[in-house]
Structure formats: C-alpha cells, structure tokens
Symmetry: C2
Subunit: 424 residues, 2 copies
C-alpha cells in the first residue's frame, strides 16, 4: 500500500478519535490568561505520541525587551507555551507546525445557539469558541503526526509541534518560541484559511488617534468646536489613505480581496454629556501592512497623512491629531509562491482533494509574521477552519476539512522532511 493510502486508511479509522479530541479541546475555555487546562490536554497528547516535551512560562527579559514583543500582559504564570519535538533520523528538512491555543472571548452569549464551550456536533460541524480559530487546525497537525507515528514512518527531518499562547494579542507566545531557539527550514500554521494556501499575509498594527475640539454648551454649539465633527473628517480622510495605499498593491494573490490591506476603525469614543460640545474624540483601529512593507513604513504613511490634514482644515494646523501605536501588532509575511514548501503542500492538496488549491494572500496577520520576520523561516498558512466563522458567535469547523487537512499535512511532512523509505 502506498503511504498516501495508509495515511488515508489510518485517518478514516481514527476519524472519531480526532473529533473527540477536538471536542475536548473546545470544551476547555482557553481565553487569554486561562490557557493552562487546554495546554494540559495538548501535553497529554504529546506524551502519548512520545514527543520530546518543552513546557515553559514565557516572559523573560529577552522576550520583553525584544523590539517585536508587543503585549500588555504582565503575568504568564501557570499558562505555558508547549512544544513537542519529533526528532528526525537525520538528513531531512525540519518543519515547525504552529498552532495557538488561546481563543478570543465568546462575546454576546445570548447570540450563541449553544454554550460556546459545548463542542456540540451537528451535520458534520463542530461548534464552539476556538473550533475554527484554531483548535481544529491544531488537531489536524496532531492527527498528521499521530498517523505518521502509528504507521511506523520515520521522518528524516525534525518536526517541531508548537502550541503557543498569545496569538490573539500580539504573538508573544510564538516570539518566545523563536527566541528560545526553535527554528526550522519551513513552517505551517493551520489558521482558518478555508483550506486556501496563504504564502503571504497582511500584517497589521493598532493605532489610537486623538483629536481635540473646544467645549461649549450645546445650546450655543457654534461657540465650540466639536471633536466629533473633526474626528469625522479624520475618519473620512482615512478612507482615502486606505484607497491610496491599496492602489499600490498589484500582487495577483490579492486579486480576490476588495481591499488587500484595510484600515479599520474599530472604536470611536467622544463626549460625556449630551448637551455639551465634546472637546476630545478618540478612535482606535488597525492599519493593514503590505507583505513587502515594514512596520516603520506603515507608521510613517499614517503619520504623514495626519500631518497633511492641516491643509484640509485649519483647525488641525494648531490642533494636529495625535497618534499612538499601542497594543496588537502583527508582522506581515512574504513567501514566494514558487517556494518548495508551497509546491509540496499544493501537490499534497491536489492528491487529497483532487483539485487545485486556491492560493491567496492572507487578509489578516498570524504568528507567521513572527516566524518569517524574526525567525527567518519560510511560512505557509493553511488550515481547515472557516475563515468567516473566526471570532464570531456560533463559531464552527467542518470536520471533514479537518481530516482532509490532516491528510494533506501528513503527506507534506513526508515530502518536506523526507522519510527513510521514500515511497511517499
């Protein structure tokens, strides 16, 4: 039997085991600061698979003083990063398989049809916070490793499985893993891409813009300067900046994205009293960073845009909007589509799915930005989750895709790392 068939067979026979494992993981709420119990489940599985375990609490000085460390979390105690290494027999390419264990908060509970941590299965979908982003992807990785182990296949290159914390809050977990010395010849991150392949990814970072006005009584509002009105000018102009920044992006991988690197205004806060003219307004948002752009270039683009507003409205000459770069920051990723890791995953996809994979640029940042920019590791983001379901209520994953992804990754490991018996 060909290895592809053996793996196919194994996954068919162990389908339910994998699904049960995902259910277990989803049922363990692992929001920020609460990752330990879900990590314990991962650790148990890695032990079962006989991987070399590395479990450590991140947050040392080397991490905190790193220029790409970006976190407001002061305490990582008890919620470790977990790495399991499957040592190769030698002579093959190594690979990092990276998944994050943290999930975003469940949001408005009343909008969930089931408890967000039920892991309920209906019509081939498993529901729950984290099912798609990205515990399902992590299960694909672990099933791929388990299939290879169970079938007695020996890989030549090392497989470094990582279950990190903090992806949703700026990537400190993956950064810590890179700084701990984990490097490899390639990496796969099974974030929810709808099984598309993302060799490139948009980076992003958060900003806060503050605009001042002049207070007045609402009954004589013409005596004041409304910070809301001035901020609306900023918001409208930001759309033009977004337009201009996106005009420059001609990469065909972005053909399907209406706005390759969006500027999103996520918050708008101003005023304290209905009948006063507000004298301060604040927006918070995220600016997309192009794959070939640096953080600093994006910052500069925004800063010079804000400087230019004085030409549009005299008020801004003496009261220029102020910008802070705070909170989340995700580095862009920029792998050539012709990279051999891409070719191998594409070929495996085609073998399993009997069709060409869709290759696009990621519309959002992932820890791939850290692996590629800091770790200098070629990264492909490719996973089974439903893109539109991430961070949403009633988040779900299509279980069939999770199994297919496990199969594609197992095949890719054979080809990338090589195996003693190179039938793959």
């Amino acid at each position: 039997m060909e290895k592809i068939e053996e793996i196919n067979e194994w996954l068919k026979n162990n389908r339910l085991k994998g699904i049960k494992f995902l259910q277990l993981l989803v049922q363990e709420r692992s929001t920020r600061g609460e990752e330990s119990r879900a990590q314990a489940i991962i650790v148990e599985k890695l032990r079962e698979l006989g991987l070399q375990l590395d479990i450590w609490e991140i947050g040392n000085e080397g991490l905190k003083s790193h220029p790409h460390y970006c976190s407001d979390r002061d305490n990582y105690n008890g919620n470790p990063n977990v790495v399991g290494v499957l040592k190769g027999t030698g002579g093959g390419r190594s690979i990092i398989l990276n998944g994050h264990i943290d999930v975003v908060p469940e949001g408005d509970l009343t909008k969930w049809e089931h408890d967000p941590y039920s892991g309920v299965i209906k019509k081939g979908r498993l529901y729950g916070r984290g099912a798609t982003d990205m515990k399902g992807g992590t299960v694909s990785l672990l099933m791929a490793i388990e299939a290879i182990q169970s079938l007695g296949i020996k890989l030549k290159g090392d497989v470094i499985f990582q279950s990190v914390i903090e992806e949703e809050s700026g990537g400190a977990g993956t950064l810590a893993a890179v700084l701990r010395g984990y490097r490899a010849d390639g990496a796969i991150i099974p974030e929810p891409t709808n099984m598309k392949l993302f060799p490139k990814q948009q980076g992003s970072m958060w900003f806060r813009i503050t605009v001042k006005g002049r207070a007045a009584h609402g009954g004589t509002r013409y005596e004041g300067i409304s910070a809301i009105e001035k901020m609306i000018i900023v918001v409208e102009q930001l759309k033009k900046l977004e337009e201009k920044r996106n005009e420059g992006i001609t990469d065909p991988l972005y053909a399907a994205a209406p706005i390759p690197i969006p500027i999103n205004i996520g918050k708008f806060y101003s005023g304290e009293w209905p009948s006063s003219v507000p004298d301060i307004a604040v927006i918070e948002g995220r600016i997309g960073i192009a794959p070939n752009e640096t953080i600093r270039e994006a910052e500069k683009a925004m800063e010079s845009f804000l400087m230019s507003l004085g030409g549009l409205d005299d008020w801004f000459i003496n009261h220029p909007p102020e910008i802070e770069w705070f909170g989340g920051r995700w580095l862009p990723g920029n792998l050539d589509s012709g990279h051999e890791l891409m070719e191998i995953i594409s070929a495996s996809f085609q073998q399993v799915m009997k069709k060409e994979p869709r290759i696009e640029a990621s519309p959002w940042g992932t820890d791939g930005g850290i692996l590629s920019n800091v770790g200098k590791i070629p990264v492909v983001v490719f996973g089974p989750g439903v893109t539109g379901s991430a961070h949403e209520t009633n988040e779900y994953i299509v279980l069939e895709d999770m199994i297919s992804t496990a199969q594609i990754i197992a095949l890719s490991l054979l080809k990338w790392c090589g195996s003693d018996d190179d039938r793959g």
Copy 2:
C-alpha cells in the same frame, strides 16, 4: 431721596456683605445630591430677612407622575427645595424670583487655576463653580429683597423667593414648587444672561440614537457593515435637519444667534476592539425646541427624519436607527417682548445702566420653561452671570454686574408689585 437713590445707596453700603455672601455660597459645593449645605446658608439668610419659610424634600407621587417630571434621581432626602415668601400688603402683583442652587460638576480639576470652591476674588471677578450659574444671580435676588426690607419699603404684591434643586438635571425642583402651589403674576430667573433680557427661550431635550452594523474582522472589513460609518451618515444628516428646522425661525430676537435651536451631538460611542468592524454605534445629544414648538412636535420632527434615512442608504431600510428620549428635558418659553414685566425690567435696566438693554431669545433652556408651560406664569430670564463662563472651568462672575442686577431687580419689584408709598 427717591427710592432709586435709596436703593443705590443701600447697595453701595452693603456691597461687600453681598460679595461675602456669594463667596460663602460658592465655597459650599452643591452638585447634584449635595445641595443641603448651600441650601442651609440660603435658609439662614431668609430667616434673617424675616421671610415665611417653606423647606421641603421634593419627590412625592404627584411630582413623579407629572408628565413633565424628568429625572433619573431616586433620592431627594436631605436636600430640600427652599422657598421664602415676603407677603405683600395687598392689591399688588405677585412675583416669583427663582434661582437654582445646584451646580454642574467641576470637570477637569487640572484646568482650574484655583480650587473650584475657593470663591477667590481677582480684579472684580469672583471665581468658582456656580459663581455665574447661578449663585451670583441668586445673591442679586436676595440683595434686592434685603435692600427693600432694610429701607422699610412695603410691597403690595407677594414676593416668592425660590432656591430650587435639580435645574441642571431637568427641572424637578421648580416643577415641585409649581405643583406645591406656588404661582405668581410674573417671574424673574437670574440665569447668566450677561444682563440681557430673555423673554423667550429655546427648550431642549436629550436623545439617544442607536445604529446597527454587522461585525467582521478588521482585516476583511469589507465583509462587515461599520456602525461607525452608518452613524456618521446620521450625524451628517442631522446637520441638515438642524438647518431645516432653523430656517423656519424668523423671530428677530434670534437675529444674533447663528443657530437659534441647535442640534448638538454630545457623545459618540462605538466599538470595543480596534481590529473588529463595530456592529453598534450610539450617539447622545440634545435637540433645541423652538419657543412656539411643543415637545411632541420636536420629537416627531426627529422621528420622521430618522424614518427618511432609508431613502438615502438602503442599509437603514431594514436597520432603521432607533431613538430614545431620555434624561434632560427643558420646556421652551415664549413671552411676548411687549409684556409689562419686560417693559418694567427694561425701564429699570435703563435707569440703572443708562443704556438700552439687549433683548434676545435664550439659547438654552431654563426652569422658565416649567414656570411658563406648567405654571402659566410670564417669565423673564435676566441675570448678571457671564454666559460663556457657565459650566466652564474657571467659572466667574463680574461682581459689579451682580450689584447692578440687584438694583435693577429691586426697582422692578417696586414697579411690578407696587409699594405703599408709590414714589418708585
């Protein structure tokens, strides 16, 4: 000596006493819920003047069930309304002299040059929260009464002095006084008008508008509908509604006001996460009510405006903005400029100030709306405070104006109420 000269003389001699009294009042912080100590100072003064005292805690069922009761305060215990009546000898017109004891919060303390409750005097100005709005006006009233009492002048009509709570929060104090039975042939409210006479006043009420969007990840913001963007449409259109509503106001009293009845957006709140498309946005504001307009008419104008937005943006057809009328509500006032109370105050102004008074429509609501609409009492708003200083940091009053206003009010009382010896 003519009465005008006697009063002039008395005020000159008692100038410092009045200023000290204002200082005492300003030093007693009387923000909402903390009115008792300042009221105690008023009570002491009324006792000294020999007025018939009526001190009561408002908040009975009759008040709370009144259609114009508008308050979110559940407890008035220990912070009474205070009324002092100077009974006339009979046969004259009665008058209500109404001042509110509540002051708005002091705001950003770092912006105050002195402690907001210092009552410090510099270059003829007394500084402090409430100095202008409207403890200075209240002192003008009390000095006028004291001058008349001290000079042994007997008025024919009753003078009903009121020191009410809750003006800054919807007028429950004055409404309670009306419902307790206090009516008169006329009323003066010495709110800070810069010594202008306001026979008419803009009413106003608060509104809250909620607009829904559809959440999405900021990196694919085009998949969502930003509630901020939709709310900006509402804000921009509200300016057109304001324009339309003000086109209809041709009263010459509004000639000096760029916008007679403004719509002010005082708050804009939306979003919780920089990299999410916000699915809900809320604004709070106040809409000005024309002197000849009813509350219900203004509500209807706003409600049908919101209904019309569907014609402008399809999103609003299935997601119409929702409006709530909440919190503050101030009835408009609409006294004919030729009313005898106006004529008497104007003439007294001219006698004291040696110039014509400026007569305008008030750009903001006062308790005059309640006195005139509910109590059916002709009301003139006229006081010594500095309009632009009300609710501001470093609030102040020009002390000379406080004394001049006392004189004008004293003369007006002689003429309006009549006196036994009708030399006035």
